[in-house]
Symmetry: C2
Subunit: 337 residues, 2 copies
Amino acid sequence: MSNKKTTLKDIAGKLNISTAAVSKALRNDSRISKKTKEAVKKIAKDLDYQPNNLASALRSGKSNLVGVMVPSTSSSYFSSVLQNIEEVLNSKGYNVIVTQSNESYTKECNNIDTLLFTQVDGIIASMANETIDLNYFEKIKSKGIPLILFDRGENNLNVDYIGINDYDSSHMIVNHLVQEGRKNIAHIGGFKHTRIFNNRIRGYIDALQKHKLTLFDDYVSESNLTIEDGRAQMKKLLALKNPPDAVYAASDYAALGALQVLKEEKIAVPKTIALVGFGNEPFTTMVTPTITTIDQHSAEIGKIAAQTFLEYADQKTTTQQLNKKILEAKLIVRESS
Amino acid sequence: MSNKKTTLKDIAGKLNISTAAVSKALRNDSRISKKTKEAVKKIAKDLDYQPNNLASALRSGKSNLVGVMVPSTSSSYFSSVLQNIEEVLNSKGYNVIVTQSNESYTKECNNIDTLLFTQVDGIIASMANETIDLNYFEKIKSKGIPLILFDRGENNLNVDYIGINDYDSSHMIVNHLVQEGRKNIAHIGGFKHTRIFNNRIRGYIDALQKHKLTLFDDYVSESNLTIEDGRAQMKKLLALKNPPDAVYAASDYAALGALQVLKEEKIAVPKTIALVGFGNEPFTTMVTPTITTIDQHSAEIGKIAAQTFLEYADQKTTTQQLNKKILEAKLIVRESS
DNA sequence: TACTTTTGGTTAATCGATTAAGCAAATATA
DNA sequence: TATATTTGCTTAATCGATTAACCAAAAGTA
């Protein structure tokens, strides 16, 4: 009924011993008698003692907090990565602070500042679409804090990166569409300045070439890949003199937007136009037709990211270098192709 | 290039003044000369000084951290609430630690422990489906930390609660279905021990009564309301001698499961059976037919929850009582009814 | 007996920022 | 000129947990 937090001092006071003795008793120091240990533990339990992490963190220089920054938690990909990071880190005594950038560079900078301010022991992040300037990420490195990137990363930062093979994924998709007899394949892409989207575009172009298909300039676009972007790009494609017979969108959201337009225009999917997305968001199985897509192994990426952080966790000096862990993605063929 | 964090001491050393002077200079204390202030600020900037929150938090007793616990961040409802909590609290200098219970009581207890351990200044939570025992939530109160519940809350805890009017929502749904000429309305419900689901069931039953409709025992079920639960319950309903002509599911996920079964069985929706969900998850607009549902004002609930915490934030003693803020929900009629 | 070792603690310093209290020098006031 | 006030800092204590260094008493050993 105290309505106050219990400290070592409270326990020490009850037993007329020093706080040092209490601290040692709780950590089973060999120089404390069994009798004292038992007494301390009993009182600790009675008073519902919980160590003040701020104090230990300040002294030890470790907060046991890890910052995670994602563009948005509502995408099921990021949500799943997050959940797995949390699971791995919690089991090792770390807590996770989650922040969202909402694809905004400004928000991302603010988030980094608050994470550093909170004295996190490390940062795991996926960059916003907007982000081009890497200064703020360099700041993390200069503070000696391990930085792990996943999904949206940058080679130039020279830190660990976990992701899938985007270039190969594009090949898998184009191969699949060609096998289905498609010849005019369009690509609703992300911005080239983001490495993963650039790789998807390169993969798409090279795959077309491999199959001796013509690459029409009008067939490739860059956008934020939202549902709205998908709608807009699909409308543009339909307005072309030679509309495509297959569309590969670099995100499921864009694919969904495209599908909406196709349905509104009563265009048969996949008969007239086949559609492929990217990300294996749950809604791809909910819509009609279900959408063919690429699975990005979100759970595994989260786990590996967390483990990568843990490798640095106990070292006093952090020297990172570019270290990529690339998973092979998986094509999931559904009704839309 | 230092690869180390800058402290007040570092700045003080450069200028040969005390750390106290540096601290005051940075906070614009009137007792520090303009000259010193400028010198301090310049060096602080050069060394990229960032105050150590652990130290200030320890001294002030405020961590500026708020814990948020939700059953899962992947539901768009919780994700949106989260985003709005974060927005409001960040603007007031608070950081948010997000934890997920995954609907597990054990995980919930662990999460509460870690949040308390991290010395959060307050906790905003929505309870797991499993949770019946409230001891762990009492623990939060006994530490003198404000606790704000939303969506899934409990009157007995006597704390602030923000949610929608579930009882009325059921009435709105039943009224709508009756207007559409339905007479046999079934309810795929959540567990009665959770207040909101109990209210939805009570609302459903009372609304039937109001319209002089018979309440068949077989028409009401309790479950976790996952997609799988929705599928199972829908199958049970279809197997009845007198299957319903309308189904009201207490979650969009359950509604989606039900819809899948109906489509598999080639049953016309809404012609043969009308369907209504709950929550206005984005996928309700993505599927065919789009699903009628209830909007829960997630953004507003997040904002109010955050503001409610802020009301307690500056008080040294927290005495909470049952204080409900109930929003009226909104029925969104779509193709499925 | 005289010394060493072990036991079971205590004292005091530390992490970094903040702030009450103090104090010397400069300035103002009577 | 003598006293009061203001300026501009410094000193030291604080938050709570941890730990190196220390010490007295008990137990062991030669």
